[in-house]
Symmetry: C2
Subunit: 182 residues, 2 copies
């Protein structure tokens, strides 16, 4: 039997290891669901829309999916997050989406960030930032605003590179099309 | 014929009068539409919902109406403004609601304020402020945030007293009901 000091060191090391493992597991889970959000973003791209996708997860089950269809639907509400949240509200039969995690490939705009706060979603995982309109810290920070009666935990940078490449490729192709006058 | 100086004074006075008359006309128009928003708020109250109503006006025609139905619909998107904006988008066949004025009885929340910016509504007329969640200056100011690619002109305090009385009466009655355990 090791001495008291060693036992303490072992327990401390075990605790640190467990925490690291839990974080690693969480990261893998986050990547798994972000990959699903990316697949949805590709559906938007196939429609000629900016590729943005979103899934909402409740108790390890996807209860809402959405992708950007703003031009297709002629509606300002056809953002990926709003569509996914609407479906999740229907599944849970409640306007509150407590105990849910929202995964989205691009930092939410002011409307979507506001909707996340209204629906009291506790955790938001995002891939890329949006310096021009993002409301999770880029322009303003609606998700973590202490003045509201609810704040969301924000995880940034999950599959950031892949989502960022997808967006860049879309805009490069769009500029090329516009230049050639198609 | 009056002298040069008098003529200038007359023209200046006429200009000031015209501006005052235009402002007075605008105020009367704003009150007319705010009264329609109040009527819609009463529909919300009849459902036991917080009385909030909204109309959207385009070329002196109401193209969207909405009232709060959040609990009735179990949806976080059943705010007065969102419902009115959805209808207006359908009428105009566009996600942009340019050249529209949105009238709402209570300062918009973060979601609705964000949606107003997303839809590029140029003018928002509101009755009461909402110190707990309002996003036209009370908690944050989404509508006039210079960091976004669009800002709305905000007119405050149209029929403020009447709308405020309506809200207070609702909450007083609600507290009474909750106290008596109904």
């Amino acid at each position: 039997m090791p001495g008291k000091r060693e036992r303490r060191a072992i327990r401390r090391a075990a605790k640190a290891l467990a925490m690291e493992e839990a974080l690693e597991k969480q990261r893998r889970t986050d990547e798994k669901y972000m990959r699903q959000a990316m697949k949805l973003a590709q559906k938007a791209e196939a429609l000629g829309e900016v590729p943005i996708g979103c899934v909402i997860v409740h108790e390890d089950r996807v209860i809402g999916r959405g992708y950007n269809r703003r031009n297709t639907d002629h509606s300002t509400f056809s953002h990926a997050e709003i569509t996914a949240m609407k479906k999740a509200c229907r599944v849970l039969g409640d306007w509150r989406l407590e105990d849910c995690t929202l995964y989205v490939t691009l930092e939410p705009c002011s409307m979507c960030a506001g909707a996340i706060i209204q629906a009291r979603i506790p955790r938001v995982v995002m891939a890329c930032s949006n310096p021009k309109g993002g409301c999770a810290g880029s322009v303003i920070n609606v998700l973590e605003e202490k003045g509201f009666n609810h704040q969301a935990e924000v995880v940034r940078g999950i599959l950031e590179e892949e989502c960022s490449r997808m967006l860049s490729a879309f805009f490069t192709a769009l500029r090329k099309r516009l230049k050639s006058g198609d």
